[in-house]
Structure formats: C-alpha cells, structure tokens
C-alpha cells in the first residue's frame, strides 16, 4: 500500500516538474503512433472500401484473414518485423532495427487490419446504395471514392482512433523491434515495464497515469465520433 501511495505522490511531482526525459518518452509515443495511423490510413481506407463493396474471387477468404489479423498478437508482429529487419534478415541492409522506423513498421502491421476491418464492415451494408446514388448523380471513379469516404467518415474516424489506441498501448512489439533504447526508442509502455522491473514505481505510475489520461481522451473522442 505504501508503495502505491508513494508512487502516486512521486508520479504527480514528476509530471508537473517538467522532467525532460518523461516528456520526450510521451512525445515519442504520441508521434510514433500518430505516424503509424497516418500510414495505415492511406493503405486501409481504400482497401476497406474496395473489399467491402467489390465482388472478387476469394473475397470471403480475404475477409476472414483480415478479421483474424485484427486480433494479431503484437509480439508476433514484432517477431516478424524483427526477423525481417535483422542484419541477417532479408531487409537487413536497411539497418533500421532498433529505431523508431522499425516501431512504426510493426505498428502499421498491427493497425492496418483494424482500420481495414472496421471500414470494410461499415461499407458492406450501405455502400452499394451510396454508390448507386452517386453514380446516378454522375460521379466519376475517384469522386466516388471521395464520396464514400465522406459518407462513412464516422466509421472511418472511429477505426482510426481504435487503431491509435491499439498502437499507443502496445508493448510487446515495440519492445522487441525498438529495443527500449533510452532517449531514442523508449516509449511509454516500454518505460513502464523497465521502471517496474527496476523497482522505480513512481516513474512507472507517472507514465501510467499519462497513458491512462490519453486513453480516456481517446475514448471520449471515439464516443463523440460514434454518437455524431
């Protein structure tokens, strides 16, 4: 009990003391996850729309694979990225293992199925109706995509936020491929693991509080977007 109280006290003073290391850890978490979501969005939103609306061979299998990958355990994504980026792996020549780039790749691998899956599910039911309406109004191909994105912005928005939440709270994959390097690849989740291991519970709790607040904000946005 003492640990917890002390931890909270220490945590609060850490948050408000302007500790640069803590802030840079928070900043890296936010930025890595943000970039991951942007990259995933570019891939997943068009993919989700196409898979959700178009008929093509093996469509059922593709949907099944995406649904499975939505629950992909992060460490497995991490392991794959690690093996590919290792100097002895096929992409080793890039030399980006243990860097924020590697973390972004792992996160993209995790979020792409989530955004694709949610977009796909949303578009599946009502997409054809929207498409036909737009078609009768004389929309062209690229315009059509834009109209669909606008029409389904709520679902797409919530898929992006769900993806962001997944990315920022994930620990296994970024630990493996980032290496938890101080001042370089240490993010909130890996810092919590390290500080807990070292018995620095106040640091761990401080970062934990920030992560919780962030998650709370993310959920508020998610609810708003869905309610709109």
């Amino acid at each position: 009990m003492e640990n917890i109280l002390q931890g909270f006290q220490g945590a609060l003073s850490l948050i408000f003391s302007g500790n640069r290391e803590v802030y840079s850890i928070i900043g890296l978490s936010l930025s890595v996850s943000f970039i991951s979501v942007v990259i995933s969005m570019v891939i997943s939103v068009p993919a989700g729309i196409v898979i959700g609306m178009k008929e093509f061979p093996l469509r059922k299998a593709v949907i099944m694979i995406i649904n499975t990958l939505m629950g992909l355990p992060p460490v497995i994504a991490g392991l794959f990225v690690y093996l590919f980026l290792s100097r002895s792996g096929p992409l080793g020549y890039l030399g980006i293992l243990h860097s924020p780039k590697a973390m972004i790749i792992a996160q993209v691998l995790l979020i792409v199925p989530i955004i694709t899956g949610i977009t796909m599910a949303a578009v599946k039911d009502r997409g054809t109706l929207v498409k036909n309406t737009a078609y009768t109004l004389g929309a062209e191909r690229m315009q059509m995509l834009w109209i669909l994105i606008k029409e389904f912005r709520t679902s797409i928005g919530s898929s992006l936020i769900a993806g962001y939440g997944r990315a920022i709270s994930e620990v296994g994959a970024v630990m493996l491929v980032g290496g938890n390097i101080k001042g370089y690849t240490r993010v909130m989740t890996t810092a919590i693991v390290l500080e807990t291991n070292m018995g620095n519970f106040d640091q761990a709790i401080a970062i934990g509080i920030v992560l919780l607040i962030l998650f709370f904000l993310i959920n508020i946005i998610l609810q708003r977007v869905q309610g709109a």
Partner: protein, 292 residues
C-alpha cells in the same frame, strides 16, 4: 462536435511536431559544466551496444557513457537484454559491440568468428539472496558454499526464482546446479524468464530465494525484502567482457565506433570511474575493474 475533434487532432499534431525533434534525432549529451574537459576528438556514427540488463539496471552505463558520447560527439544506443540475446544480436550483426558476462560462451563466440578482440573489463560477484528469516536455513547449512546452498534448497523444496532467460546469470546458475548434482525441477523452482530487476522483485514478492549479481541487488536493495545469505564462493565470480562484433560478417557494422569504444572502456580513466561507481551510495564498489 467536429470542432472538438479538430482541436484534439490539432493538439496531437502540435505535440507530435514539438516532441519529434529531440526524440528522433538523438543528440550527444551536452558537456556538464567546465569540470573535466575531455579533448574533442573526431566524431563517430552512433554505436549500438548490446549488453546485459545488469549493467544498465545498476546505473553504471548511465554514469560512464556520457563521457564517451561527449568525447566523440556520438550516441551509444544501449539495448539491454540477457547475455544470450545480446550474443545473438552480435551473431546477426544487429549490434556493433557487446558488453556481456558469460566467459566460456564469449570465448566460443570469438572462436566461431562472430566476434573479434575480446577483452576482460571488470567483475563483480553473484550472491544468493532470500527472505530475512531464511526458511531453508541456508546460512547455517551452506555457509559460503553456493552449490551446497542450491542442494539444500532443492532438498527442502524452498521456492527459488530463476532468471530462466539464457542470460549470463542464468548460465552461471545452471553451472552451479550441475556442481551441486541436482536437476532443478518442481513447483518450488520458478523460471521467471525476465531480467535481473524483475526477478529480484518477483523473489521479494514471493518470499523466494534467487541468485543475483551484486550490483543489481545493491542498487535495488531498498525496495526489496531480501538479504544476502550466501556470498564469497569463488565459483560465483562474474566476469564482464567486451567484444567487437566481427565487421566482416555483416554489412553496416560500425567498426570504427566499436574500435574506439573498446579502446575507451579499457582505458585507465574509465576503469577508475568504474571502480568508483557506487561507492558514495552503497559504501562499496559495484564493479571491480580487471581489464587485460
């Protein structure tokens, strides 16, 4: 509603941009005050150092690395893992230099051509720690005999937390079980699969015994309900070595950086720093330099 959304996204973006700078381009540490001005030498590309959790968790690297980073205007990226994984990183070319502790495996590593130019750097020793009331009576029965202590634990089925992660500490523990002639197995033998700090916390929580390097234990002592029970056995000697990863095995190894790093860490100045480390805080050195 859309306004809220836009504001939050905007804030996130700003924070991202602001924080991206220092986080993504690691800067060498600023010199701290005019104290000791190391002569500015040539600059080096960032180095990846694969090492064991004990050197980082004890705070040693945090103490000495800024000196190197300042001297060569570079950055040392420390990946702290078990010795087994650190050596695997070396084999795969994912690190430039290793600072590990498992002498037999290290020599094998060099003989196999994965590493070059191995040096001893420093040592500390392993100790067996456990709950203060010592339910298995290790202190009485084993004295300083580590193997006997392990045999006693297995006899009495006293809970023992093992690193179980192929680290240097784990390898040493297995050596000692062999010396004790016991195959550790059963409910009492808990293989944790984590770093030294986590294992110590686990042992403290579970009122179990464990084997640890002295440095990590001393640096965490205040947070642990564990006391030293067995120490001073020659077999619990813990030698740290530095090895350059063989630059001919893989593209992109920072050979120059590794050369300078090894030269630096076995220099008299740094060995002196190592021997002073921890004296103020714990009343004894955590590591004893013995470079060759």
């Amino acid at each position: 509603m859309r306004k809220v959304f836009a504001i939050v996204i905007g804030l996130l973006l700003i924070f991202t941009l602001v924080s991206c700078g220092p986080a993504k381009t690691p800067q060498p540490q600023e010199p701290e005050g005019p104290g000791e001005q190391a002569p500015q030498e040539e600059t080096l590309d960032p180095i990846t150092l694969a090492t064991t959790t004990s050197t980082e968790n004890s705070g040693l690297l945090g103490e000495i690395l800024p000196h190197f980073e300042e001297k060569y205007s570079t950055k040392v990226n420390v990946v702290a893992v078990g010795t087994g994984q650190a050596m695997e990183m070396g084999k795969n070319g994912d690190a430039d230099v290793l600072l590990v502790h498992a002498e037999a495996t290290e020599i094998q590593f060099v003989n196999d051509g994965y590493g070059v130019d191995r040096h001893r750097v420093m040592y500390n020793d392993f100790i067996i720690v456990g709950p203060e009331d010592d339910p298995a009576d290790l202190k009485e029965t084993a004295g300083a005999d580590a193997a006997k202590a392990l045999a006693t634990m297995s006899e009495k089925q006293a809970p023992f937390a093992s690193r179980g992660d192929d680290s240097g500490t784990h390898k040493k523990e297995l050596e000692l079980w062999k010396a004790a002639g016991v195959e550790p197995a059963g409910d009492w033998y808990k293989s944790v699969g984590q770093g030294m700090g986590a294992t110590l916390n686990f042992a403290s929580e579970q009122e179990a015994y464990t084997m640890t390097d002295r440095a990590t234990y001393l640096s965490m002592r205040d947070d642990l309900d564990l006391v030293i029970l067995v120490e001073g056995d020659e077999r619990m000697f813990n030698q740290y070595g530095v090895i350059k990863v063989n630059p001919e095995k893989h593209e992109g190894i920072n050979k120059k950086g590794a050369d300078k790093f090894v030269e630096w860490i076995i220099s008299d100045e740094i060995l002196e720093m190592i021997s002073e480390f921890g004296k103020d805080e714990y009343g004894q050195s955590l590591f004893v330099p013995n470079a060759d």
